[in-house]
Structure formats: structure tokens, C-alpha cells
């Protein structure tokens, strides 16, 4: 079956009909560009096993596969020497929160955490929302970040939306959507497409997640997310299947594990984890907060005996996921590539700029 259009991430209902059409068109263009590959790179196309589900049939043998990873940034973890150091670092800057999950921490005057808000919403959706329904965007900020947010806090003098505005750029003043440079839906689509190329180098089929991302040059090798997304996608491609990101395309919260968590009153620590945006199976925004009527706050909950002092501590227990769909197993005739991706000197910068422009709405 061919899908009629791409739906908004998490089945969100903020867009009007025009916005919905534009969103579908945007994803479709992004997918088509990803299918075409990067012309400034060699051995990067064709990406014959990645398809546009609004143009190509998804066959009846289709199966879905969740691809999940931990929200805590791996690059921070491997360069730190203690938990406290890495939690402090990850809580210090949204630019370090690069696993398609960013957060903002609210504290009492005494420093205890009362609330942590996590988002995995890509910035592209918010750019479109700003263009088509700016009042709705403002209302969402007022609902989820602070009722006091004003239009001028989010838009510049020319009326253009500021994604990294004062209420969505640091780790203590609100997190409405992703702003870290690599945390984009476009990046996710591109890396899934690029990872769909099966590679046989010097007679050996590449299967390791790190060797695949190094050879295919998609995403950032040091993250949890990109090598894993690529590795799983490539393992599907090696089954000679065609694949896509499932509609609605997006990154989603997988789960919060509360193994080893204890609350002061013995209540279930997971009961304070709430999804506040996105539909069932596709949550895009989560809040960890203890109801005000209870006599303790988030900072009184302990994890493995340590009180929660950082949003990053919770991020250790959050999984983020992408969802792939594969079909036509065993039928792909795409030949493996026998070389790795290389830049074509001089073209990379020009293409990157052109590609970026083509994807902006």
C-alpha cells in the first residue's frame, strides 16, 4: 500500500490542513533527497533499498523494528571520569545533549529538583508551525514552558521564529524542542538512507556499527544514536529488504526504566513520568515531576542510593527510539558497494549549503 502522506511526528494536531500538506511535502522532499544521496560524495548512491512510502508500495510482508538508544550523551560519558562529572557536564549545555533528547531542569531555591522536562521533537516541525500557525506555537510555549512567554520572546523583529530563543536554548529555562545542531529529523532521514547501503570491503561484508558509520560517513560515530540506527538499518538491508522510517517519521521516547529507584513514601517512581505531547507509541515530550500534593519532590527520589541532583541522572534511564519498517525481504537486487564513502574535493561545502536550502520550508 502507498501511504497518502507523511503525518506529523507523534500524530501532533497543531498544524492546520495547509500545514499538514506542507509537512508531508517536506518529509517527502527530505526522503527523496536522502534516496538520491550526496552528490559531493563518492560511493554514496544509489540508495536503492530506501524508499518514499508515499510513492512506493509498502508490501504486505512489512514488519516494524524499534531502534532504541539511551538518552544520555555518549560523547560526554566516554570523556568523563566519574558519574558526577558527566552529569554536571551534560546538564550544563543543550549543545552537549546530542542523542535526540534535550532537557531542562527546574529547581527550588534550595537547589532541589522539582521538575525535569525532556523533548525529542525535531526543530523542523516548529519552523513550519511558526510559519503557518505562530499563535499556536506561542500557546504551546505558554502551556509547556511558561505562561509568561510572549511573542517577542520567540520571534525577531521581522517575525521570524528564533529556534534557540531564551526559553529554548539553555538547560534551566525551558526545553520546547531540539536545538542541538545534530538533533534534526533531516539528519535522521539522511543517516537511515545512507546506512541502507550494504558494503563489502576487500571481500568482507561490513556488519559492525562503528565500521559501518566510518565507511558510510553518516551521522556522528561518537554518539549512541547514529551508529546504532545505522547498524540496525544496515542489518535489515543485508536481508535484501527495502526499508523506510515508519510514518509518522520522528524520534520518540521509548521508555523510562526506574530499576533501582526509591521514593520517600514507597510509591512507584515511574508514576511521576508523564508524556505530554504525542500519541500512544509516539511520545515526543515527557515531564518528570512529583504532584504538588505529595510531600516530596524529584530531588528526594534516589537512584541506586543517590538523590536525583541532575536531569542527566534521569537521562541515564531514558531510551529514545526511531522506528523502521522493512518489506520485500529477500527481494532486493541492489548490489553491495565495494568501497567506502569519500568526499569529492571542493564539492562538499557547496552541496551542503544547497541541500540545506532545499530542505527549508
Amino acid at each position: 500500500m502507498v501511504s497518502s502522506r507523511f503525518d506529523p511526528p507523534g500524530g501532533l494536531t497543531d498544524l492546520d490542513e495547509t500545514g499538514l500538506e506542507q509537512w508531508s511535502a517536506f518529509i517527502s522532499v527530505s526522503v527523496d533527497a536522502a534516496i538520491a544521496g550526496r552528490p559531493d560524495h563518492t560511493n554514496d548512491a544509489p540508495r536503492a533499498q530506501f524508499y518514499n512510502l508515499t510513492k512506493t508500495d509498502t508490501a504486505e510482508d512489512a514488519t516494524s523494528q524499534d531502534i532504541s538508544w539511551i538518552a544520555f550523551p555518549r560523547q560526554v560519558k566516554v570523556s568523563s571520569v566519574s558519574d558526577r562529572q558527566r552529569w554536571t557536564r551534560a546538564d550544563s549545555s543543550r549543545d552537549l545533549q546530542d542523542e535526540y533528547c534535550e532537557w531542562s531542569v527546574t529547581r527550588r531555591p534550595d537547589g532541589k529538583i522539582t521538575r525535569v522536562t525532556y523533548t525529542c521533537e525535531g526543530p523542523e516541525y516548529w519552523q513550519l508551525l511558526a510559519q503557518t500557525r505562530p499563535d499556536t506555537l506561542l500557546e504551546l510555549y505558554q502551556q509547556h514552558v511558561d505562561p509568561a512567554v510572549q511573542h517577542g520572546d520567540l520571534f525577531d523583529a521581522s517575525g521570524s521564529y528564533i529556534p534557540r530563543n531564551n526559553r529554548n536554548s539553555i538547560t534551566t529555562n525551558g526545553a520546547m524542542h531540539l536545538v542541538q545542531a545534530a538533533n534534526t529529523l533531516s539528519a535522521e532521514i539522511e543517516l537511515v538512507a545512507a546506512a541502507s547501503i550494504v558494503r563489502v570491503i576487500d571481500g568482507r561484508e561490513l556488519t559492525g556499527e562503528q565500521e559501518l558509520i566510518n565507511c558510510g560517513q553518516y551521522g556522528a560515530p561518537q554518539r549512541n544514536s547514529d551508529p546504532h540506527i545505522g547498524g540496525v538499518v544496515n542489518s535489515i538491508a543485508r536481508l535484501k529488504a527495502d526499508l523506510v522510517l515508519r510514518n509518522p517519521v520522528g524520534m520518540y521516547f521509548g521508555d523510562l526504566s526506574t530499576a533501582g529507584w526509591d521514593t520517600p513514601d514507597g510509591s512507584d517512581a515511574k508514576s511521576y513520568w508523564t508524556y505530554v505531547r504525542g500519541d500512544d507509541g509516539h511520545p515526543v515530550r515527557a515531564v518528570y515531576e512529583v504532584p504538588k500534593e505529595l510531600e516530596f519532590v524529584v530531588g528526594d527520589i534516589v537512584i541506586d542510593g543517590n538523590p536525583i541532583e541532575f536531569g542527566a541522572q534521569i537521562a541515564d534511564f531514558i531510551s529514545i527510539k526511531a522506528i523502521a519498517v522493512a518489506c520485500r525481504f529477500g527481494q532486493s537486487t541492489a548490489a553491495p558497494m565495494t568501497a567506502c564513502v569519500e568526499d569529492i574535493e571542493g564539492l562538499a561545502a557547496a552541496f551542503s549549503a544547497a541541500q540545506l536550502k532545499s530542505r527549508l520550508i
Partner: protein, 528 residues
């Protein structure tokens, strides 16, 4: 596993639908479990047996748990030491894929199952751990022939007669075991690696495979399970009048290496390149016990994790002929993730952490012990010596510090007759530091040590030393019963009987004292 195989080889006829007990080291053979004991088993598996339910396959076991409705949340995980070996190269190699399955009511996992992912489900090994909330311990079960056998509980792991026997060869301290506990979870299917399967492998159709979770999730469960058992154990270890029983068994986990975890670089060994711009960062657990010293005891040490130029690492693989070997199978090179080493076990770390948190010992006391020979976070003969001064029981000091002062005084009193560099003297120096100073002093020493390592690791001789040190520690691990699988670690051309090595605080290495192994055995260090 060894214990199970030994048990199975000795089994001839067991009656079906009958619960047996067979605690190796205690029971000479399986015997029918007395009804009174069976009635006391309150973990989920024990409950099934009490109800006369004896599911003999994994499928039937999960069906019974489903029917009971008590543990609705299920997760499955996959592990194999051969899981990353290219399928075309495995030949006759047994890939030995194994499932770990957890069942929970809510947050806490109460039932853990370990079994083969292939083979005849009625014949392959099937083992279960169940948490008994009433008794505050895990019960261990294995299917033997046509029925189930209770193999002991968490306290059996600690009892001298059964310690290291049967399933307690790996469940050394009566808790959960996940040797490769930390990222990148070598050998496990995880967010860092997918175990290779042929396109037509029947496992792909197995619902447990189709719903696999990654080892990153199992790590959280295992940590929580170890903490859960440790908490109950320590609570029960203190009597109402403040008497700490089994103190020597508790502090054994501070002074000795009762178990290890296996840590590795997060970099796949096949991706290490000679480019000087891409050094290989080695696992922190090679250098020191950062989890205890920095995280739990709060030493404010700051340093950059030491890394080595890729060329030196790659040269070392050739020089020492690294390979994964089992029988006729041989794959040149390192393990899938580079530079695997034994590191301090979480089950030891957590006991120390909770002893401090529960004020049974002070942080200063724990640090004073751990800083003795801290460049050797595992297999330290120096720290082992300190256990000789720990009594079997002691009373918590009303003035605070738990039993710290009593034990420390005995060690300090012994110093006069010992060399200045004895472990006892080093402990005494640490213990004399003022409360306001010890953390900074220890942190400074750690930083100086890591700086020395960082200077040496980039040199041919320095890195060669660390390669041989790591191999020495792997050999010590291989001599333990924790080493169940041939492909767990790579082999080298360093002779098995080469002198064991230790790290020095100046970043150099030297041969270990010859008597260390004997002393270790005396205190249970290498007895698992």
C-alpha cells in the same frame, strides 16, 4: 555452568514433578526437598513449585508465569561470545547464543531466566533466579532431567561449605551476574552491537528474539538487583544491639577481589586506525577503581582518560599474536571491542558503597583501604593483607564511623613491626590524614598517577608494559571459575606461566610478589 554440567553428569534418575534440593558443597546428591523447606520458598519460581507446577521448557515456564499473572512485564536479552564472529568464518564453532529473560511486576525484576537460545528446549540448560521478598534473598534453581532442583540461595554463596560451588562459581556473592556490565557490553546484543545471525536462522522467528531489549537496559536491572540484595544483606548483618555479624565476609569485598567485571574500550577493535588524530581510549577500570574512589567516596580527582596512539595498539596485536581461539577455530586480533580487562566488580563496589552509606564503616576508612595499592584495582596482594586484621564480628561505635576505628586501630598497632612500605603502614598513613584533608590528598595522588600513565602510554615501552599488565590480569581472571567460556577473552603468545605483573604508582610496572596467589587463596580472593 560448570557446576550445572557436573551436576547433570551425576544425575541418573530423578522423579518428575518433585522438587529436589542440591546445594553443591552441602549436599552430595539431589534429595527430595522437605515439605517444610519447599513451603518456605516465596519467590515466583518457588511459588510455582509449591503449586505443583514443574514447567520443563522455557516456553512452558513463561506460560506458567503468564498464567499466574504475577509478573506481567517481560524483557529478553541475548549474549554470545561468538556473536560478532563473521558467520562465514565460524565453521564448526559453537556460537552458544543464550537468552537472559526477566520478569517483573513493576520496577523490580523478581524472576530471571538463563537458557540457550538454540537447541532442544527440553534438553538445553535452563536456570532460574527468583527474588524472595519475605526472606530477602535470591533462590537459585536449575532444571535437571525431568524436574527442578533448588541449588541454594544468596546466603549459600557466602557460606564456606558452598562458596564457589555449583552456580555460585559465577554468582560469587549471591547476586545477579553480568560480567560485561558497562558500555559497550562486550558479547551482548546492545545499542552498540547487534549479534550476527544468518538470514534464515530460525531464531529470527522466536518471539523472544523479535522483542529483544539491549544490554543497556539489562545493566540497569542487574545494578538494581545487586543493590537490592546488598541492602537486605547489610540490614540483616546488624543486630538490634549494633553487633555486625559476618564482618569479615563483608570487608572481604573491600579488601579483596571476590569477583570482577570485564571492561573494554568503547571502540570496536576493527576500527582502530593508525592515524595519530584518533587515539584509543582504554577502559578506566584498568587504571583504578574510579567507581568507588571518585563516585562513591567522592574524591575530587580530575583527569583526562588515558589514550594510546592507534598504531601502538595495532602493533601490539601483531607482536603478541592476539587471537580469539576455541578448538580449531582461530581469528587473529583482539576481542570485538578493544582492550578487555578485568575491573573491580560492581558487587564488591556496591557492598562498600552501602557499608559507607549505612555508616557501618566511614568513607575515610574505605578510602584508606582502597588507596593502598590503588593502581591495582583488582588482584591486589597488598589489600588482601589488611583483611587479616578484620574480626568476624564487631559492634558499631556509638561515636560514629561504624567499625572503622576498631579495625583501624588493630592495623595501626601492627605497623611498628613491619616495613615502612607495608600495606599496614600505608593504611596507617591514610588513616592519620585529617578529615578535612584526605579526599584532596588522595585525589592529588590519583592525578599524579594518571599523569605518569599518560606520559608513558604514548611511548613504545610504556604501552608495551600496559599491554602485558592487562594480559597478566586477564590470566588471573582466567584462573578463576568466572571464566566460563573460551572466547570470552583473546589469547596471546605470552606464556601462561609468565610472571604476573602489577602497576606501580609512578606508572611503571613490576612483577607481583610470588606469594600473592597463596595469600589470595587464603582469603577467598581467587577461590571462586
Amino acid at each position: 555452568m560448570e557446576g550445572v554440567m557436573a551436576a547433570e553428569s551425576g544425575i541418573t534418575q530423578l522423579a518428575s514433578s518433585t522438587a529436589y534440593r542440591f546445594v553443591m558443597g552441602v549436599d552430595s546428591e539431589p534429595t527430595v526437598m522437605p515439605q517444610s523447606q519447599l513451603d518456605s520458598l516465596a519467590d515466583p519460581m518457588g511459588v510455582l513449585l509449591r503449586q505443583g507446577k514443574f514447567p520443563l521448557t522455557l516456553h512452558d515456564l513463561l506460560a506458567e508465569v503468564d498464567a499466574a499473572g504475577m509478573l506481567p512485564l517481560q524483557r529478553s536479552y541475548l549474549v554470545s561470545e561468538a556473536g560478532q564472529i563473521p558467520l562465514a568464518e565460524t565453521g564448526s564453532l559453537q556460537r552458544d547464543l543464550r537468552f537472559a529473560i526477566t520478569r517483573a511486576r513493576a520496577t523490580n525484576v523478581d524472576l530471571l531466566i538463563s537458557t540457550s537460545a538454540a537447541g532442544d528446549p527440553a534438553a538445553t540448560f535452563l536456570q532460574v533466579m527468583g527474588w524472595d521478598e519475605t526472606a530477602g534473598r535470591f533462590n537459585y534453581y536449575m532444571r535437571l532431567g525431568p524436574t527442578w532442583v533448588w541449588a541454594g540461595d544468596s546466603y549459600s554463596a557466602l557460606a564456606p561449605e558452598s562458596r564457589g560451588q555449583g552456580c555460585f562459581d559465577s554468582h560469587v556473592n549471591g547476586s545477579l551476574v553480568m560480567k560485561e556490565l558497562k558500555q559497550p557490553w562486550l558479547h551482548w546484543q546492545s545499542m552498540n552491537a547487534t549479534i550476527l545471525l544468518a538470514p534464515d536462522d530460525p531464531l529470527r522467528r522466536n518471539p523472544l528474539y523479535q522483542s529483544l531489549s539491549g544490554a543497556e537496559d539489562l545493566e540497569l536491572t542487574v545494578r538494581a538487583g545487586v543493590s537490592r540484595w546488598t541492602g537486605v544483606r547489610l540490614k540483616h548483618a546488624v543486630t538490634s544491639d549494633g553487633r555486625v555479624t559476618d564482618l569479615d565476609r563483608l570487608l572481604r569485598q573491600l579488601c579483596t577481589t571476590t569477583a570482577v567485571n570485564l571492561a573494554s574500550s568503547v571502540t570496536a577493535s576493527s576500527t582502530v586506525v593508525r592515524s595519530p588524530g584518533k587515539p584509543l581510549t582504554l577502559p578506566l577500570g584498568l587504571w583504578l577503581n574510579v567507581d568507588s574512589l571518585l563516585d562513591d567516596l567522592g574524591l575530587p580527582a580530575r583527569f583526562v582518560p588515558p589514550s594510546v596512539p592507534g598504531q601502538l595498539y595495532l602493533d601490539s596485536l601483531v607482536r603478541y599474536d592476539f587471537a580469539l581461539v576455541e578448538g580449531e577455530f582461530r581469528q587473529p586480533g583482539d576481542a570485538f571491542f578493544a582492550f578487555v580487562v578485568p575491573e573491580a566488580a560492581f558487587e564488591d563496589i556496591e557492598v562498600v558503597n552501602q557499608l559507607v552509606r549505612r555508616k557501618m564503616i566511614s568513607a575515610h576508612f574505605a578510602a584508606s583501604v582502597l588507596m593502598v595499592d590503588f593502581p591495582n584495582p583488582v588482584f591486589s596482594p597488598a589489600r588482601v593483607k589488611l583483611l587479616a586484621y578484620v574480626p568476624a564480628a564487631a559492634t558499631l561505635d556509638p561515636a560514629g564511623g561504624g567499625v572503622s576505628q576498631q579495625v583501624a586501630e588493630v592495623i595501626v598497632q601492627a605497623v611498628d613491626s613491619l616495613p615502612a612500605d607495608s600495606p599496614e603502614a600505608r593504611f596507617a598513613d591514610h588513616w592519620r590524614l585529617a578529615d578535612a584533608d584526605w579526599r584532596d590528598v588522595f585525589a592529588s595522588r590519583i592525578q599524579d598517577y594518571v599523569n605518569a600513565v599518560t606520559l608513558r602510554i604514548g611511548t613504545d615501552q610504556g604501552f608495551d608494559d600496559y599491554v602485558r599488565l592487562a594480559e597478566s590480569r586477564r590470566r588471573e581472571f582466567k584462573s578463576s571459575r568466572l571464566n566460563e567460556f573460551t572466547l570470552t577473552l583473546p589469547v596471546t603468545n605470552i606464556p601462561p606461566d609468565a610472571p604476573l605483573l602489577q602497576m606501580n604508582e609512578d606508572g611503571t610496572i613490576s612483577e607481583k610478589p610470588a606469594q600473592s596467589a597463596t595469600e589470595g587463596k587464603a582469603y577467598g580472593q581467587f577461590s571462586f
